[in-house]
């Protein structure tokens, strides 16, 4: 990130090669629109280019920083659509995302292992906690919107989010220091 902050475009390209696919995957999952997802990825990497100097490794890895940006920008985009229209499109869980290219066998194995690890962790959550994670993380709803969808009090939703994330952090072995850039 220091190289990116010093306007090293090759360094940004390395970041893009490494995380561009994950960024696109998340944007696609939230927006369910290929064109809009690609626009979000463009905006996020442009933002990373402009704001690289603000990156603070004490607050998370580069991957985490980029993906949080993707989430934030995707949600900004979602807010331009009617919430009601979004609610009619909610999927029970992860939406299908098409790949434009084929990954290598090694990448496929690694991806499958990572997916399986998270899936198993999610399955260990109580159903009501898994639902708030699904609505919040995968559908991009705010806590207030989740409360509207589930009919639960906002305080209950907040508690479930907190408990779910604490449990997932424990199950996935994520400590306070993160996994590093």
């Amino acid at each position: 990130m220091k190289r990116v902050a010093s306007s090293d475009r090759q360094a940004l390209r390395l970041l893009y090669d490494r995380y561009g696919g994950q960024a696109l995957s998340m944007a696609q999952a939230m927006l369910r629109n290929q064109g809009e997802a690609e626009e979000i990825v463009q905006d996020v990497f442009l933002e990373a280019w402009k704001r690289a100097a603000e990156y603070d490794p004490r607050r998370g890895s580069v991957r985490g920083w980029l993906l949080v940006l993707v989430r934030s920008r995707s949600i900004d985009r979602l807010r331009t659509h009617e919430v009601a229209a979004r609610l009619t499109q909610l999927n029970p869980f992860h939406p299908a995302v098409r790949s434009a290219e084929v990954a290598t066998p090694l990448e496929l194995v690694e991806q499958k292992q990572a997916r399986e690890r998270v899936r198993l962790a999610l399955e260990q959550l109580p159903a009501e906690q898994r639902r708030v994670v699904s609505l919040g993380y995968f559908d991009g709803l705010s806590q207030s919107e989740i409360a509207n969808v589930t009919g639960d009090p906002l305080g209950t939703v907040k508690t479930r989010v907190r408990l779910a994330m604490a449990k997932l952090s424990e199950l996935l072995g994520i400590g306070a220091k993160g996994e590093g850039p």
């Binding site: 696919g21 696109l24 997802a37 690609e38 990825v41 989430r71 299908a96 995302v97 994520i174 993160g178």
Partner: protein, 250 residues
């Protein structure tokens, strides 16, 4: 927001599950000088969880031309910056030191009320208007509020608000140049003398569009829309005087 409150809701913050006002307050806390007790570490843990959960998503491989589009945007931005630097000596002092109270600033701002058809007649090319703006323009009762200069602008910025009281909806369309490095333009909805953060105006390709959070507009008619220059990421309270303002007619 205290450190305890921040740590308690840090996951919702990292996942962008907070409402805009809450998010602004959390952001301000994180960037306050402190001392902090574990806020950075808690955010690092939450950020990593956001990243690791993305492993559950099916992989996507960007199309081949995506990187070239990013490079094009970087080039366009570099050209805008170079142009701004060339013009900087002509711009004069950029820092505003206005101490005019918010409410006086609001009262001093003139009222500009136009109907949607006037927007079309007064220079906005419809090819540049997206569907959401088109729908709001067509809605009965939509006002076009042209934000007026109330002080030196850090960079050239022009902003209009499409506001419909009945629908409780507002859209901001801004054009000009990006905020200086490390800064953001922030929109404020001011009601009863209290400014509420309403989002950041980040220009891409010279244009920014921002949907005003409906929750801010459902609380009653705003007195004023205003724009200030804030630290990157925005503030929960204005830290500078507004340089663009417009009051809303009763």
């Amino acid at each position: 927001v205290t450190c305890d409150e921040f740590r308690e809701s840090v996951d919702a913050y990292a996942m962008s599950l907070l409402e805009p006002e809450e998010r602004a307050a959390f952001h301000a806390h994180l960037n306050s000088p402190g001392p902090h007790t574990g806020c950075d570490a808690a955010l690092a843990r939450a950020t990593e969880l956001v990243a690791v959960l993305s492993d559950s998503l099916p992989p996507a491989h960007p199309p081949k031309d995506l990187w070239s589009k990013i490079e094009s945007k970087i080039e366009a931005q570099a050209q805008v910056q170079a142009k701004a630097q060339r013009e900087e000596p002509k711009a004069g002092p950029r820092r505003t030191r206005s101490v005019v109270p918010w409410i006086l600033t609001a009262l001093a701002a003139g009222v500009a009320l136009f109907l949607g058809f006037m927007l079309r007649q007064q220079g906005v090319r419809m090819g540049e208007v997206n569907n959401e703006e088109r729908a709001l323009l067509a809605a009965p009762g939509t006002q076009l509020l042209e934000l007026q200069s109330s002080g030196p602008s850090p960079t050239p910025l022009h902003a209009r608000v499409l506001y419909n009281r009945q629908l409780g909806r507002g859209l901001v369309v801004a054009s000009g140049e990006q905020a200086p490095a490390g800064k953001d333009f922030e929109l404020w909805v001011i009601r009863g003398g209290t400014p509420f953060p309403a989002g950041l105006l980040r220009l891409e390709g010279g244009v920014a569009r921002l949907v005003v959070d409906p929750l801010l507009l459902r609380g009653g008619t705003p007195d004023v829309f205003a724009v200030t220059l804030e630290p990157a990421g925005g503030s929960s309270r204005p830290s500078t005087a507004p340089f663009l303002v417009q009051s809303v007619s009763g």
